[in-house]
């Protein structure tokens, strides 16, 4: 076990807080990307696509 000293709660709090917010940020970025790709797939399924994407997938 690593000895963190008398201020261990502040050290653990800082690392835990950073880990939590970064996990939330990564999750939000990934979810947003997934959601937009789903929108494009839904449009593609309705036959709405860019002329340059003839026959290809939307994303």
């Amino acid at each position: 076990m690593i000895e963190l000293g008398p201020h261990a709660a502040y050290i653990v709090g800082a690392y835990a807080g950073v880990a939590a917010l970064l996990a939330a940020l990564i999750g939000w970025v990934a979810w947003d990307a997934h959601r937009v790709r789903q929108q494009l797939r839904a449009l593609d399924a309705r036959g709405i696509r860019r002329r340059s994407d003839s026959g290809g997938t939307a994303a």
Binding site: L4, Y10, V18, L22, V29, D32, A33, L43, R46
Partner: protein
């Protein structure tokens, strides 16, 4: 000579600028950069907890908070620098990707700035006896967070994203005045916050093991920003494509 052979190939800047080209070349970089980021975080945490000393004379046993605080504080300013360059790209060069880069970076910058303030508060309590003090560095960093939030709100306030891009670019450049204030606040005013320890005349004022651990963590955080920024730019390009297609489809249905 055929027409194809005389056609000028677009230079690297033009290829970078074109949204479709950006989607093409940036995709293959995401996984390797993500893996490199994870590796650097693993090495950085190992250095921070098993190689770096646990305490120093000036900050005592709270030293390890430095590996969370300094990278976030660095990114709070670096991301704004990226947004300011993107703002110039929008206003001066009308770079097709510039306003997308500005919009994509704003939430990331806000998150890193919030983390700099959060870890700073947790570091301040045991070393200074307070979570918060209205001194130059802390107040200017809080102002930086408010500027980020203002730019995010601005982007969300307009349906016309081209117009939003121009206004956000102007606000970003006006807000850039705050960056040197954040950076030099510890030199200009008497503050609780200590002065720079790394980029100083005569070399860094810290032990090499602390310096190396910090350097690896800063690189890891910077790469994390780069990966998230690339993914967010790609998402924004596709979002605009989806919005444009949906609008065209609606207009076609009305006709």
């Amino acid at each position: 000579m055929s027409l194809d052979s005389t056609a000028k190939k677009p230079n690297w800047f033009s290829r970078l600028a074109h949204p479709g080209e950006f989607l093409r070349w940036s995709g293959p970089w995401i996984l390797p950069l993500s893996l490199l980021t994870a590796l650097l975080f693993a090495i950085g945490l190992w250095l921070a907890f098993f190689v770096s000393p646990g305490e120093t004379e000036n900050v005592g046993t709270t030293l390890r908070i430095i590996y969370m605080h300094v990278p976030n504080a660095w990114l709070s300013q670096f991301v704004y620098g990226v947004m300011a360059v993107a703002a110039l790209g929008t206003l001066v060069w009308r770079h097709p990707l510039a306003d997308v880069a500005n919009k994509a970076a704003a939430p990331l910058g806000a998150a890193f700035t919030a983390l700099a303030l959060f870890t700073g508060a947790l570091w301040g309590r045991p070393t200074w006896g307070t979570f918060w003090e209205w001194d130059g560095r802390m107040t200017s960093t809080l102002v930086l967070l408010l500027i980020y939030l203002g730019i995010i709100a601005l982007w969300r306030a307009f349906d016309d994203q081209l117009r939003a891009g121009r206004i956000a670019a102007i606000v970003t450049l006006v807000g850039a005045v705050n960056i040197p204030i954040v950076k030099f606040s510890v030199d200009w005013w008497q503050t609780l916050h200590q002065g720079s320890s790394v980029l100083v005349t005569g070399g860094p004022r810290m032990a090499p093991t602390i310096l190396w651990s910090l350097a690896v963590m800063m690189l890891a955080f910077t790469l994390l920003f780069l990966v998230l920024h690339i993914v967010s730019i790609r998402t924004e390009i596709l979002r605009r494509r989806a919005t444009s297609l949906a609008r065209q489809a609606a207009m076609g249905a009305d006709a």
